[in-house]
Point group: C2
Chain length 356, copies 2
DNA sequence: CTGAAAGCGCTAACAG
DNA sequence: CTGTTAGCGCTTTCAG
């Protein structure tokens, strides 16, 4: 029983016509008579004929399939990217094969091979944290399979890419902290060997400078997880001169910091204001809700796949395109400080932290 | 340049030998001389030959590819299922194509067609919320492609399946609420036309009965989202006799309830204790942290794909297997009530809600 | 209007 | 030890 799938030959035999006629009838070729078409289509439906996409790929040398390499699906940002990609792919009649690298270089290489030997027409890639050697991607690009990098890009290869304006996002976040009166803002940063970490730290520095806030490099603290943030914040709060603002490189880190602050009996945002990065779905579920930077994952996915589709449809080579995606600060309660009395001119009805 | 991928023929031509010899040399066939093997392998590496998986699939009539249909990747539970599936698939040399149905019946049908015509060897499916007609799955099973349903299963077709013991999980949750002294426990329930909703509600009823807690069907409230829970809880708290325990059908709903309770100035767990379901990553990030039911998504994924692989490897038919996966209650702060004085005999060092 | 034949890349009998 | 041939399912010239 297994594998007993109906082929064009079966239909041909049943109808005592040739496979080529069946093929043509199925795709409504003008040469074929109306009756034959009807007969073929009816039988096809009856036998539940499904065209064999594999045979088609082999014949056409394109598979209408795109490969997607993603570090970790669990992250809200990445799942939104996937959704953006899928929605467009779906409409364009493309199939998407998703592979997780799990932030492992070895697995990324393996994924890439699987996809390439599966003859995907193109690739969408966000590189793993571990990856420092990009030869595997170079080889693929050399064979003519287009790659679009998104979010975590590879600068050593000239390809289309979609990047988040991390520096600007970080700048906005820190500038906002300054604007609500924070004087000593620390940054919980990601590893500085990744662009993301570097760019966000850069935005932090710029905003500090612009607001004439004194800072040292020690105020950029390597800490990018919930647990780390919790411990780190507990320690910071014990020091003589704790910060009054924290800009965390991602939401989970921000939430870890918030927990520690609340457990120390301090008030957010009035004692310490907190900003995250990503606008994951938990940002509205914390108390206070979290001010954070929206990265537009869904749009990034859409833009990335559109770049790829353009490249596939193009009949000539053209220069690599880089699209920088704007970020937006989403202000919530974790930075809505009660205005100091002498500044409080507007918003009479606001009772502290009740609005969202 | 595009599609200029190296084939076995290219290697054969270059070396002036036949394609079959190349094929054999590449797979280390004993018939081939050592020199030929070396020459072939060297050239293959040099030209970066990648076997064409598509051609192989066509020849072998299996693709070493599995199809996965998942309602929505964003959910923590489903991403853990994916990880479980991928880890096993990876080791077994199988590729996984993931499709999201986005809880839409239409999309589920389309996904299924894509996967089937892409000649996947087997399918792992969790049905969409919308789906009430299962003919599309029946057809696929009829053609001999095995399906394993997980979590949201289809009872109309006899296939392998992996289900969560929702009723028991719910029972444990509510029984626990009763054991910490809750007397009026309400249940925020999912739609009762889904098994999940029904089973969890059933577990609730059973636990109420077992603990001799009076309840009416009005205490099972249709409410399964963060926003709904927030509003619903606000309303409940205004009533004369509010609940002292809430069992929510999922974590987000529980968190919505918690927010409303905290905003009303009440204490969790002492005024109202809350339990969720899923043990998503935010359960530890709320304040208080959330007691919830662990569903073991990763294990479910592993078990599901193992059932599928067994089925694929089997040389004979065998009866459909159903695996029921145990759930575990994870007790955190949202139910750690301060013991009443006359009961407080043990745990001297505990200061209320500090442990996790 | 329809059929025969070749070929996409690879493998596996079957011959040498 | 190596080559020839046929065929997986489908399309597409080229011939009728």
């Amino acid at each position: 029983m297994r594998g007993s799938r109906v082929t064009i030959k079966d239909i041909a035999r049943e109808l005592s016509i040739s496979p080529s006629t069946v093929s043509r009838a199925l795709k409504d070729h003008p040469d074929i008579s109306a009756q034959t078409k009807i007969a073929v289509n009816e039988l096809a439906r009856k036998l539940q004929y499904e065209p064999n996409a594999i045979a088609l790929s082999l014949k056409n040398s394109f598979s209408k399939t795109l490969g997607l390499i993603i570090p970790e699906i669990v992250h809200y940002f990445f799942s939104s990217v996937i959704s953006g990609i899928e929605d467009v792919a779906y409409d364009a009649g493309f199939n998407v094969i998703i592979c997780q690298s799990n932030e492992s270089y070895e697995r990324e290489v393996k994924n890439l091979h699987t996809l390439v030997s599966g003859r995907v027409d193109g690739l969408l890639v966000s590189v793993s944290k571990e990856t420092t050697n990009f030869d595997h991607f170079k080889h693929v690009v050399d064979t003519g399979i287009p790659i679009v990098f998104y979010d975590r890009v590879c600068n050593e290869i000239l390809t289309d890419r979609v990047i988040v304006d991390d520096a600007d996002g970080a700048f906005k976040a820190v500038d906002h902290l300054a604007s609500v009166g924070c004087k000593k803002i620390v940054h919980y940063a990601a590893s500085q060997h990744l662009m993301i970490g570097r760019n966000r730290a850069m935005g932090y520095r710029e905003a500090m400078r612009k607001n004439n806030l004194p800072f040292t490099e020690e105020m950029i603290i390597r800490c990018d997880s919930f647990d780390c943030a919790k411990k780190m914040t507990e320690n910071l709060l014990k020091e003589k001169n704790p910060p009054d603002g924290i800009f965390a490189v991602n939401d989970l880190t921000a939430i870890g910091a918030m927990l520690a602050i609340k457990e120390a009996g301090l008030d957010i945002p009035n004692d310490i204001a907190v900003v995250g990065f990503s606008n994951g779905n938990y940002a509205t579920m914390t108390q206070p809700s979290l001010t954070t930077v929206e990265q537009h994952g869904y749009d990034i996915g859409k833009i990335a796949i559109n770049l790829l589709l353009d490249r596939l449809r193009a009949d000539h080579e053209y220069e690599a395109i880089t699209r920088m995606i704007r970020t937006d600060l989403v202000v919530r309660e974790s930075t809505k400080r009660q205005l100091k009395i002498d500044q409080a001119t507007s918003s009479p009805g606001l009772s502290g932290m009740k609005q969202v």
